[in-house]
């Protein structure tokens, strides 16, 4: 089966080639890929005319002819730069493909599978069929990923299994031999069977040298009473682009906790959709974005309360310097019958420059009558009163600014309970103190 990809923006040029290079697989997968690409075709590449892309200029993608990334030119690109401590189980992807030599997966407990997606498809395609046959709706880039992925990560924990240590997924991207603009499409899947518990640190790390577009689709399936803590660290190179769609289904009394730290990239677009479809399902969504230059970060989140007694706690923060831009669209939909829903969505932004901008839209759509829902969005600057107060105690102006910016961001770091990671993030937060904070 084939799908045709009509040429539109420059970035479409490499798509036919990418499709031709897709590895052979079972018939059902070929059909799923074609269906996904057809879905992309129907929607077209996102433009500012689309409601959900209105504030996010995609020139960084649309104006560049990306080609499928080869192996990194330099071996071990990004090695040693990961924020996440090394003592965890580790699976490494380089330019969208599994690196066996860099992955450390010996010693996984019984009942735990951690594999590259290509490998998993070769081993047991039928186990994946129910998941990979689905085509994500309303997400054009996720549809592209579903059509064009070569690899990704597959994690499965059997019933009641608890991981001894977190799993670290490192996705590194670096210039290949062509040193031209390169792209990688990935598809990953995390399945926790009932009662299983895991911590997964997903870290995306870009090396400078050429524009790199990493486009990923991740699905998370949480069975009854299971719990996933999902830490996501993101540091692209300054010309790097990342589009990422995460689709999560949370079962009865299961818990999904997400912590997203965005620490760099020309354009970062993240779509997170969480469906709470079992009674008492719970999700916590935390986010912190630290931006400078002309970086654009866009978070679109949608939490759908579909069953009784679900809870959502969402707080995203952004610190914006220079000409950066942050977009937050956080919708919580409470479906009919989702009584006793208890949901909160907040977005707080700190502007350090007059040229930085924020579009924030925390929102509810409620179709049930016995619910507690709170939301709020704020955009502020460093408080002159607080700055003067600190200076009046002998603390220099630059240090006072850094202290206040750090205090704003550290709230999100403090929520990370995984201690070595929290320490690394605190250091990263300090290291990424905005330039404007140096004015003294």
């Amino acid at each position: 089966m084939t799908a045709t990809l009509s040429a539109a923006p420059a970035f479409m040029a490499g798509m036919a080639e990418a499709y031709a290079a897709v590895p052979e697989g079972p018939q059902w997968l070929a059909a799923a890929r074609a269906a996904a690409l057809a879905s992309f075709e129907t929607q077209g590449a996102p433009t500012s005319r689309r409601e959900d892309w209105r504030f996010t200029p995609i020139e960084a993608i649309a104006s560049i002819s990306y080609r499928c990334a080869g192996r990194p030119e330099r071996r071990g690109a990004g090695a040693g730069k990961a924020l996440c401590p090394l003592a965890f189980h580790q699976i490494v992807l380089e330019n969208g493909r599994l690196s066996r030599e860099r992955s450390v997966l010996s010693g996984l407990p019984k009942g735990v599978t951690v594999q590259g997606m290509a490998e998993a498809l070769a081993d047991s395609p039928d186990a994946l069929r129910a998941f990979l046959e689905k085509v994500p709706k309303g997400l054009p880039f996720a549809a592209l990923a579903a059509g064009l992925f070569r690899d990704g990560v597959f994690i499965r924990l059997g019933r009641g299994v608890r991981l001894d240590r977190p799993i670290h997924i490192l996705e590194s991207s670096a210039p290949d031999a062509s040193r031209g603009p390169a792209m990688a499409h990935l598809r990953s899947l995390i399945v926790l069977e009932p009662g299983a518990e895991a911590e997964v640190v997903e870290e995306s790390l870009g090396e400078p040298g050429a524009p790199f577009w990493s486009n990923a689709l991740i699905e998370v399936e949480l069975g009854e009473n299971s719990g996933l803590k999902h830490y996501r660290l993101q540091r692209e190179a300054h010309e790097g682009v990342r589009s990422l769609a995460t689709l999560v289904r949370v079962g009865r009394h299961a818990r999904y906790e997400s912590h997203v730290f965005t620490l760099g990239g020309a354009l970062v677009r993240k779509d997170l959709r969480v469906t709470l479809d079992g009674e008492g399902a719970h999700c916590v969504l935390n986010g912190l974005s630290l931006q400078h230059g002309r970086e654009i970060v866009d978070h679109h989140t949608l939490v759908s309360h579909e069953a009784i007694g679900g809870t959502t706690r969402q707080l995203y923060k952004a610190v914006l310097d220079e000409k950066s831009r942050f977009v937050f669209d956080g919708l919580i939909a409470v479906r009919p019958g989702a009584q006793k829903t208890d949901a909160q969505v907040y977005n707080r932004n700190l502007l350090l420059s007059e040229d930085a901008s924020v579009n924030t839209n925390p929102e509810f759509k409620i179709y049930a009558d016995d619910v507690s829902c709170k939301h709020g969005g704020t955009i502020g600057q460093l408080s002159p009163e607080a700055l003067f107060y600190l200076r009046s105690r002998g603390i220099g102006e630059g240090e006072a600014r850094r202290l206040l910016v750090y205090a704003f961001g550290s709230e999100m770091v403090e929520r990370v309970k995984l201690e070595p990671l929290r320490v690394a993030l605190a250091a990263a937060l300090r290291a990424r103190m905005p330039e404007a904070a140096e004015a003294a």
Partner: protein, 255 residues
Amino acid sequence: MLKIKGLHATVGGKAILKGLDLEVKAGAVHAIMGPNGSGKSTLSYVLAGREGYAVTEGSATYQGADLLAMAPEVRAREGVFLAFQYPVEIPGVSNKYFLKAAYNAQRKHRGEPEMDAGAFLKFIKEKAKLVEMDPSFLNRSVNEGFSGGEKKRNEILQLAVLEPKLALLDETDSGLDIDALKIVANGINKLRHPARAVVLVTHYQRLLDYIVPDFVHVLSGGRIVKSGGKELALQLEKEGYGWIEDQSGTARVTV
């Protein structure tokens, strides 16, 4: 220690201080009293270096140097301390960390080694006793969620830690019940020292029952219009500010 001569200052283009003179010597406690709008808080902020307070004329000399030319943090490191009328809440910065940063900035300025975290913790726990503050407040964010009295006590704790040469206390008694007032006054009295000067800015005489000043000045219309000993405060308490203003020829202000 502090010599203010003919000080004029404007806030948002409006003249507030109009030729203020004041001299403060080491070891003395001065009280500056005056009705609302007389320029008391403006004087405090001008001396501490707050933005938006423009000095248009006159001078303030501190230990022989031009105080007004110094950045706020330099004034603080040189030993000037302002206890705020409305202390600022700073979420996310622990009181302990804040105090340590302030203390070490001062030590560094003097060319002394910084104090490490362990030694500092011991040091501030002792200081906290002075203002009868529960040590748990040291771990909380600066002033966040503190009651009015707790905020004022926290100001005095900072005063005790930084041991300034010149302490300016802006309406430190406002919003305090009598017990809190005693604790705060007691904290200040313990810090009285021959090498330290204290300037209390206050509307009411009440605080002066607990901290007995050496000098009392009346600020009205942006100038010191009368100076005297502690008995002047009692007279003001009895008779209000009206007679002072009539005498000085400025417009009468009701209090």
